[in-house]
Symmetry: C2
Subunit: 371 residues, 2 copies
């Protein structure tokens, strides 16, 4: 896709853990007794404090921004140049260092498991603001992210207007009914796994098969029909399954050989299980579902009118989880509320995942806004 | 939707079972030792034999056409008038009277279960042709159907050109990669259910929860995002769940209260389990997956050029399981092959299910072609 030099991965200059030091009350009514935020910093804040970029991660990401968005940091990439301080913060509910369902609840001395409370995007940004304060960061030059990361960027600008100079939110909006339905089915898959054990599984005995299945469905929502058709069409599975076989090697006439797309989805599911936790998946899809920046305000307009930052919203043309038209509607609502909001569309067949799959095109769109 | 008088359901004048009387060899290599086709007839063939309409059913339908497509038979409906003979034939693999996975395999004396072989649309129409011959029906005025029913209509016209005068195929084309992937995940859900028992469950102990879940995912593919948004948006479940609750009534912080769309999907799944069999679901989704009228011919053009019938293909504007553009491409391929093929689009937000949800609009489109 790119003619620029090969990517150079960057490691954080610092990784650390932060705790507000007291119980954190959540919007939905739960409490995290002593939550930890794991964060990573690339570079350092300058004396003027005007070089900090907070990159918020998506569902399966981590604080190590350069691990999952390497092209932003490579030579020729968006944020290659020195002088920036980039910070990533793992979101609570995840399994990459911050407090999540697998963490021990200080109140019970046991892992939260199924008792991990609902953490909203609003809760997350309130914790992030505490961390930024602790780090003496009083102003973010940019907060950017895609998907759940884009939700955080928007919510931070609504809740803490004085903290945010610019927002880039990519492929993010309150989920529509189809997205809510598909997330619900993914959670149900996991919950129906006997190995889930009502959420009380041992760390090394998680409900692998159903988590893989849930991820495979999610992958369908992250990609597009056009991309799948281009990649797989109706080809048989590349490992040799024959979809037209009556009794395949496992002797099951009802299941049969796979098409190529099925093999791909199975593979994606298996890969995910190796690096993610089922309860964290349940927690973060609920976080995604409940995102609504207008919630708690009289109206969306009232919420948006709080924003002082300049905002760029990027929709992805082939995204059907967060359809481009819904991102456009969000942008229109912001403009109506008086926000300095620009709207762009990333034209790509990659679906929601275009923010990862098309980093050069994404950088081309947002560079003029950032630099 | 309609101002016509209320629908009058029609019961079949005759229901019966047909067996070719010998083993039936299937394209994928399996054999059905003594298959049965269950069929229903409304009216009788006339002396000239020019009044027979074969209505092919979709995945969860039955031979009783008027049960699932009542508006075609009601006053003011498409086929209200006397003089027609309408025939419906339950497809093998199903659980409505024809041989399926729950039937006893004469060779083993036990239910086929997971050993039920792959039955293709080509196999199905070859069996149907034997039944029609037995009934002394040598010519079909019309064969029509939607989804898997539309596949049968097309395949019959390719395989038995002399048998078919007119074809109406609605929302049918070879599945694309996204559709194949989503069907695969539905099968995997069922197979992963311990209650599936490798396909050897007792008739009254089928894998209810995972079949319901598979159906719920299928319902997502049968509807459209617009329809869901119009009906459910981000409303909480109407039975009282609160999606923003941290610890809902079942005490599971990770699962939480449902949105309205989730309650709807759960309900649809539960309703389906009461009337369908898990192994039949596996069998028929494989039948759907493997539909390809060009298979076995040198090219799609070679296959289509066999068709003597006049054909009408109807795409549904909001169908994302069988996208309208793919139906249009199929129509273009037919025209190229010299088929007298018309193409129409049913404009509806109901998605694939529009063939059931918008019968009046559908009738308006196809009436001029049929009568």
């Amino acid at each position: 896709m790119s003619s620029s030099p090969s990517a150079t991965l960057v490691v954080p200059g610092f990784e650390g853990d932060f705790s507000p030091g007291e119980a954190f009350s959540l919007e939905a009514g739960g409490v995290l007794a002593s939550p930890t935020l794991h964060y990573a910093m690339y570079g350092e804040p300058n004396a003027a404090g005007d070089n900090v970029i907070f990159v918020a991660h998506a569902l399966s990401g981590s604080a190590r921004v350069a691990d999952w968005w390497p092209r932003l940091f490579s030579e020729g990439g968006l944020l290659q140049a020195g002088g920036h301080c980039v910070i990533g913060i793992n979101i609570p509910g995840s399994c990459y260092g911050s407090t999540g369902p697998a963490s021990v609840d200080p109140l019970s001395g046991r892992p939260y498991g199924p008792n991990f409370p609902l953490v909203t995007i609003g809760d997350i940004v309130r914790m992030q603001a505490l961390l930024l304060k602790k780090l003496n960061i009083h102003r973010l030059k940019v907060v950017m992210g895609a998907s759940i990361g884009g939700m955080q960027a928007l919510e931070l600008a609504v809740r803490f207007p004085e903290l945010v100079e610019r927002v880039v939110s990519i492929g993010a909006a309150p989920l529509d009914a189809m997205g809510l339905g598909l997330n619900h089915l993914q959670r149900r898959m996991i919950q129906l796994d006997p190995a889930w054990r009502g959420g009380h599984y041992a760390p090394d005995q998680q409900p692998r098969k159903r988590l893989a299945l849930a991820r495979a469905l999610a992958v369908c929502t992250y990609k597009s029909a056009d991309l799948f058709e281009h990649r797989f069409a109706r080809k048989p599975d590349r490992s040799g399954d024959d979809p037209w076989s009556s009794l395949h090697e496992r002797g099951l006439g009802l299941t049969g050989g796979r098409f190529d797309v099925a093999g791909y989805l199975d593979y994606q599911g298996e890969q995910f299980v190796a690096r993610f936790d089922a309860n964290a998946y349940l927690a973060l899809t609920r976080t995604m579902d409940t995102f609504d920046p207008a919630r708690g305000y009289p109206s969306a307009e009232a919420a948006f009118s709080r924003i002082e930052a300049e905002v760029m919203l990027v929709g992805i043309s082939s995204d059907w989880l967060f359809p481009a038209r819904e991102v456009a509607a969000l942008a229109a609502g912001m403009v109506k509320a008086g926000v300095r909001c620009q709207h762009r569309e990333l034209v790509s067949s990659h679906g929601h995942d275009a923010f990862l799959a098309e980093p050069d095109e994404l950088a081309r769109l947002i560079r003029p806004f950032l630099l």
